[in-house]
Amino acid sequence: MPNPVEILGRARNRIARVAAIRAGAYALAPAIVAVILALGLTPIGQATWMRWGYILAPERAAMLREILLAIAAGALAAGGIFAIRAHRRALDFVAAAQRVDDAMRAHEEILTFAALADPDLAESQKTARSPLFPLLWRHAIGLLERFDPIKTFPLAIGRPLARSSMIAGALAAVMIIAAMGLVRPPTREQAIANRLREIAREIEATSNDPTDRAIAGEARAAADALENRSLPPLQKEKKLKQAMRDIKQQKKQSESGNKKGAGAGAGSQATKGNGKGQSQGSDKGTGTGPGGKDKSSQPGSGSGKSQQGKNSGSNNQQGKQGKQSKDSSAELQKELAKAQAQVETDAKNSPKPDAKKPGDDTKPGNAPKSGGNPDKSGTTPNPDSARPGSVPTASANVHKNVPPTGGAQAGAKDFGSNQGDTHLGETPAAANYQRYLKPGEKGAALDIHDARYVMFRLPNAAVIGAGGKTVIDSNRPTASTAYVNAPLKETTDQSAPDERQLVPPRYRDLIH
């Protein structure tokens, strides 16, 4: 005979599991979408470069990737927490029984049974059960005999997943918009670096030759060096030159090998016969076209049998690839030259080492140069000294009898515009000023006709008596409390009178 308490226990566990899975499913789609987007940022960046000529800067892409991965981790963590909470909540025996009751349409018999047979119930409560409890037990067995927790409480995660997908869709839309907002037209260096990478990809796609792959690797390294901001221009230039030298060297080696192969080992089966790749009609496959990547350095015997049919096809294809590889290589050299030129331009435009900050001279490994330290007296002109608004000399100020202006105190000076020197936002420094004489004081007459500012200070003292003695003015009237402009309270009620007077039916006849 089935035990209804055990059946309800199984139902409770099933309900708890389903609740946990459903709660967790809400976070699943956003997490997956975030991970996919994080992994797809590189292809997205490439696509924007290829299609529209905009790039997603690597550091921005990295930042976005980190955000997406954090969102994914957060979603998974939240899903886990929700799942645990849902599982805990669903472990209530009576609540599970209520759901079983609803599913079985048992008119709360299972609910009542569970409330009285709860395993967590105190023993005293169990002994105080109604004499009718055995009958309820039998009713519960009858109802639960045909009860299957798995069928009654299916997983049914379609709805949570659908809702989760909506959240994931919104997340994807936001992140794609964010990615679109972060793409920028590339700088010249970035454009060249991207072009180099593109060429490297082309080379790798069209050739399996280790030399070609090495060239592609060089191109990638050059691109990385070009984009590396922390690398000084000189080193960039050096790397680019090195890359160009390597590529040229490899090209030369390739060409010399090709020539050797063409002269001594024509018809070798090892030939990669790029170029024309024509070997039909002869045992000696000629295959010596102007291949760029022909590596057939080993001399062939020339005694090959009639395999021309096959060789012609493969040689033809290899010839095409070789041509593409050659074109790519040429383009690569062109791009490297551009990059070098750009780096040289940047190096020229960048501030020279002697214009460094004064503190840089003390760094180890950098020998101080003459004129590099602006604190030292020397012949090196300070570029800032030619600018208007520089700090005037003390003598000039003394002569003019005006406070100093400009220079480091210039604040919001407008040097380049035609709006004039407005001195907006400045507070004049009180220097070289003349003041009015106090009562009774004697001195030279005030000469302010060339003054640029006149400042007044209001006295807080009054003169008492003829002797000109100044004391604190205590006769000035002062308010004991602060003035408050409080509005008067409304005294009239503007609301409409209540015209509807309700009268109960039994009083209606009494009122005339």
Binding site: D92, V94, A96, E108, L116, L132, F133, L136, P504
Partner: protein, 338 residues
């Protein structure tokens, strides 16, 4: 007849259902229609409560009560309430008697000493007389000249009141209304029912009621069945539901709906919750269950609470009935779910 004390729970429940069903049939032999009122009357009897029946004269209220008492083999007394009715006329009085040359006061019990007491047109008596019934209804005892007399169980007061003639009446105070388990309203019979009434009452054939219990054992049998009602189980979530119903009907109470706050002065007392549970238990037994369901509770809410809600001036002016307020409560209130 009747289940032995050592009978199994199945047999006891079956016996209850059989008795109730037979009683319904027997009363239905003399009362045409009004099945719901008959069921409520018997429910009140097996729940140990009293019932207030409201209806116009001539509907068979008195006949129904008498038929119910006769069916169950219980003693029946009828009191016609009038303005000049005195409390002593109801509960009895001390009468000077002489026996063997000795004169002494002897208590002569009034009509309230019966198992089933019908208070006809109870709102015609003065409040003083009405209040004389209060102690009997609640305490099942009366006190005369300092002496307390117990009323034999089962004890049920069936009161009727006429809603149309209001002049010269004394509406029952709220405290007394609260003592009734149910208030049921008897409507006019349907045409088919009226035809049947005419056929039964104007012909030569008279319907005889067959008593289910013998008068000697009736009280004990009914008390046993009343004990069974009390044994029916109620789960804690359902008790919370009943409490929520009471709270929703109480102005200013927890979960009071806007209509309640707008139209009611007072809500139901704890007696209202007790009445709902007891009548729900009877409903469960009649359905063959030994535990109360939400349907049993919903079925009991209106008859148990309609006379316990005290309307305010605005509700009377706008003719808002307590039934409509309870309907709104039932609509708004949600059953507790997992």
């Amino acid at each position: 007849m009747g289940a032995a004390p050592q009978a199994s729970p199945d047999q006891r429940v079956a016996e209850f259902r059989k008795t109730f069903s037979r009683a319904e049939q027997e009363v239905g032999r003399v009362i045409v229609g009004h099945q719901d009122v008959i069921r409520k009357l018997l429910t009140a009897l097996f729940s140990g409560g009293h019932i207030l029946i409201e209806g116009v004269p001539g509907l068979g209220k008195t006949l129904m009560c008498k038929a119910a008492a006769d069916t169950l083999g219980l003693s029946f007394k009828r009191i016609q309430f009038t303005p000049d009715l005195m409390p002593s006329d109801i509960i009895g009085t001390q009468v000077l008697t002489e026996s063997d040359g000795h004169r002494e006061f002897q208590f002569k019990p009034g009509p309230i000493f019966a198992h089933v007491v019908l208070g006809d047109e109870i709102n015609r008596a003065t409040p003083k007389t009405q209040s004389a019934v209060l102690e009997a209804m609640e305490e099942h005892q009366v006190t005369v000249f300092g002496l307390t007399y117990r009323l034999d169980p089962p004890y049920i007061v069936l009161a009727t009141q006429n809603p149309i003639e209001l002049e010269g009446t004394y509406p029952l105070p709220e405290a007394q209304m609260d003592r009734f388990l149910f208030k049921v309203v008897m409507g006019s019979p349907k045409p088919e029912e009226l035809r049947e009434i005419l056929a039964r009452t104007t012909g030569t054939r008279a319907h005889q009621i067959e008593a289910i219990f013998k008068p000697a054992t009736a009280a004990h049998e009914i008390e046993t069945l009343k004990g069974l009602v009390r044994e029916v189980m109620v789960a804690e979530p359902l008790e919370r539901y009943i409490i929520a119903v009471i709270g929703a009907c109480t102005p200013g109470g927890p979960g009071a709906i806007p209509e309640v706050s707008q139209y009611l002065r007072f809500g139901p007392s704890p007696r209202g919750a007790q009445a709902i549970i007891l009548s729900a238990k009877v409903n469960a037994l009649l359905a063959g269950r030994v535990s109360v369901s939400y349907e049993d509770i919903d079925d009991a809410v209106v008859p148990c609470l309609r006379h316990r809600l005290l309307r305010n001036f605005q509700a009377e002016a706008e003719n808002v009935s307590t039934e409509s307020i309870l309907e709104q409560v039932h609509k708004r209130l949600k059953r507790p779910r997992a």
